[in-house]
């Protein structure tokens, strides 16, 4: 297990390194002059040269990348702004803060949204899938699969305003959604996130419903299910201990990957509900042409996805005795 984790972690670092190179290359090819953006209006060529030098933009592209990577491992000095500790993701020109600090300020909202949302889509999706498989061909099955189709083909930017108009503006069931830190006010923290959670889960749970349904039906037709019944095990026992056990590994896999996706920032949901998380930050960094922040958010998101990929692979080894990792 330790060997597996070390190997995968090293692999992830290589991927992140390549990602840094590629995104840096992309950012540098943009026609945006960072020095110009940070120079006061009507600044002279001399002033511009000073800004350029301070931002390290007068160095060659290769040196800039090298500095960035160096900053990730040992930190970097940012003159008047102080020392940026490793992992240093650079300095945000629009926020006048270190990128890592900006991300850490915004990340709790994303965590809150992602964890609550994933609990919603897991519970709703798996429950509907189980019942559909149990009542295969019934009216419930038909309705559940129709809803799944609907959920999968809909868009959050369409559902979110509708849901807000219905539950907040017209029915007054909920307050205007928004993020409040859980430690400050647990209750309004949760009530403020209910709508975002449910709306986020819409595009995810349909997948679980279909997967769980087909996995359960497939499992129930397996020989070992019949053999378990031939041993005298009850239908309920066979259903929970044999069929669900077999369906679990793939479901955990999908869940781990989805969790990585939502934890790397749900852009559309966050923007739709005005939640200041990682996704919102990504959008803002682009509109502000803050390349260091863009780069930082991108790397951070990528790291979240990579971590969950490793977790999923490790979990698979634990869930299926036939899979040996190492």
């Amino acid at each position: 297990m330790l060997r597996f984790l070390t190997r995968r972690a090293l692999g992830a670092i290589v991927i992140l390194f390549l990602l840094v190179l590629l995104t840096y290359l992309a950012v540098m090819s943009l026609p945006v002059d960072q020095a110009m953006l940070n120079c006061p209006k009507g600044c002279s060529p001399q002033q511009l040269a000073i800004v350029r030098h301070n931002m390290g933009l007068d160095k060659s592209n290769f040196e800039q990348v090298l500095d960035y990577v160096k900053g990730l491992f040992v930190g970097a000095s940012h003159g008047a702004d102080g020392f940026c500790n490793a992992p240093c993701l650079g300095y945000s020109q629009s926020r006048h803060q270190f990128v890592i600090d900006v991300i850490m300020d915004n990340y709790p909202a994303t965590i809150m949204l992602a964890l609550g949302g994933s609990v919603c889509f897991l519970v709703i999706g798996v429950t509907l899938g189980m019942v559909s498989a149990w009542k295969q061909g019934s009216l419930f099955d038909t309705i559940a699969s129709s809803f799944s189709q609907l959920g999968q083909s809909t868009q959050i930017f369409f559902v979110a305003p509708l849901a807000m108009a219905l539950f907040v503006t017209n029915l007054h069931w909920l307050d205007k959604p928004g993020y409040t830190p859980f430690t400050e006010d647990p209750i309004s923290s949760i009530t403020g996130m209910i709508l975002p959670w449910l709306v986020l889960s819409i595009i995810f749970w349909s997948n679980y419903t279909r997967q769980v349904r087909s996995l359960m039906i497939e499992q129930l037709s397996e020989d070992h299910i019949r053999a378990a019944r031939a041993k005298g095990m009850s239908n309920r026992y066979v259903w929970w201990r044999y069929a669900l056990r077999g369906a679990m590994a793939p479901i955990v896999t999908i869940f781990g990957l989805d969790l990585g996706v939502v934890l790397s920032g749900a852009v559309i949901t966050e923007v739709s509900f005005g939640i200041h998380g990682l996704g919102m930050l990504a959008v803002k960094s682009v509109t502000a042409q803050d390349t260091q922040l863009e780069l930082g958010v991108l790397l951070f998101s990528a790291a979240a996805i990579l971590v969950f990929n490793i977790v999923v692979d490790a979990a698979y080894g634990l869930l299926d005795p036939r899979v040996r990792i190492g």
């Binding site: 020989d223 053999a227 031939a230 041993k231 095990m233 009850s234 239908n235 299926d320």
Partner: protein, 357 residues
């Protein structure tokens, strides 16, 4: 020796109800999108305590289906089962699931063909063996584990106290089949249904498994229904044999009768299509022409008639229009319109010479 008493009424053994297992007029129907599949029709047989009945037939002849019906393992949603299945006088058809569960794995157990598929990949061999024991005897986990080790030792698995914690994929095919036998015998069932337990194994392992089953039968006095299409295995283990074709019994008798003096063209075909190790390599095998009939729409009359090479010898068009009853001819039961004399002459003049060449 024979568990099959001679018939009084056509196809119905006498003394019904006395036997350990008695199946009467069993019919199994599946509802499918294409129509109703008549998988088993008017099947009768008896099995005495401690004896072995071999059931032979092609794929789709109804041998597995009829035995899954004995175990009550068909999906009631699309299956109808009619007739009577009595185990020690207790009627099994129509028994509630809850009562069937108490019998399954306890009084009657089943071994399946593909041991890799029939064992759950997610649980250890020991747990899967202990499960029915714990359920039926109320034993706790520790006793269950001890019993599993005991059973593994009994079926000849080396180091059973270590192998008890292995997963099925860590066993070889032969060992898995032994583990499955251990699992089915863990509660000392009186009836063991073995559904092609040797088909997926290589020949040397087949012989070991058959020997193991015979030894265990001696020890526990279990009655065995052994389903196979391998007549060689039948010769090793069966006391009586039932030959099935298209969901019906076409021949029934003692093992010796069925293998030495078969009375049905299908039985002749089966014997002629077995490869013989000492036969001349230049003589081709004689397969039965054609393929098994569709049970959605079985041929009229005798279901075997489209493939039968002797139907011209029956007067009129009886083979196509009238279904032959299972009647005694030359010593045991067979369902064929040929007269006993015709059968005898075909057997001695055409079939036996073919076999000895």
């Amino acid at each position: 020796m024979s568990t099959l008493t001679k018939p009084e009424a056509a196809g119905t053994p006498a003394g019904a109800g006395d036997a350990f297992l008695s199946v009467r007029d069993l019919r199994v129907r599946f509802r499918t999108e294409d129509g109703i599949v008549k998988a088993v029709n008017e099947l009768n047989f008896d099995l005495e305590a401690g004896k072995t009945l071999g059931i032979v037939g092609e794929s789709g002849s109804g041998k597995s289906v009829s035995n899954l019906a004995v175990m009550g393992l068909h999906n009631p949603r699309n299956t109808t089962i009619e007739g009577s299945i009595k185990l020690e006088g207790q009627e099994l058809i129509g028994l509630p699931q809850r009562d069937l569960e108490k019998l399954r794995g306890n009084k009657m157990a089943m071994i399946f063909q593909d041991s890799l598929a029939a064992l759950s990949p997610y649980y250890t061999i020991g747990r899967q063996i202990a499960e029915p024991f714990m359920k039926h005897t109320g034993a706790n986990k520790k006793e269950g584990r001890e019993r599993a080790i005991e059973m593994l030792a009994k079926v000849g698995i080396p180091q059973p106290d270590k192998r008890v914690d292995s997963y099925p994929h860590e066993f070889s095919g032969g060992m898995r089949q032994r583990a499955m036998i251990a699992m089915s015998l863990v509660c000392n069932p009186k009836l063991l249904i073995a559904d092609e337990p040797t088909t997926a194994l290589d020949v040397t392992v087949q012989a070991q498994i058959v020997d193991l089953l015979k030894d265990l039968q001696q020890e526990f006095g279990t009655s065995i229904i052994f389903i196979t299409h391998d007549l060689g295995v039948i010769r090793e283990i069966a006391d009586d044999v039932l030959v099935m074709y298209a969901g019906r019994a076409v021949e029934r008798g003692t093992m010796r009768e069925i293998l030495k003096t078969p009375q049905h063209p299908y039985g002749w075909g089966l014997l002629s299509s077995i490869p013989r190790i000492n036969a001349s390599v230049d003589i081709p095998l004689r397969p039965i022409p054609g393929s098994p009939p569709s049970l959605l729409n079985p041929p009229s009359g005798c279901a075997f008639n489209p493939r039968c090479e002797f139907r011209e010898q029956v007067t009129g068009d009886k083979c196509r229009t009238e279904r032959p009853a299972l009647e005694e001819a030359n010593g045991h039961l067979s369902a064929c319109h040929l007269t006993p004399a015709q059968k005898q002459s075909i057997l001695t003049e055409q079939i036996l010479p073919r076999l000895s060449s």
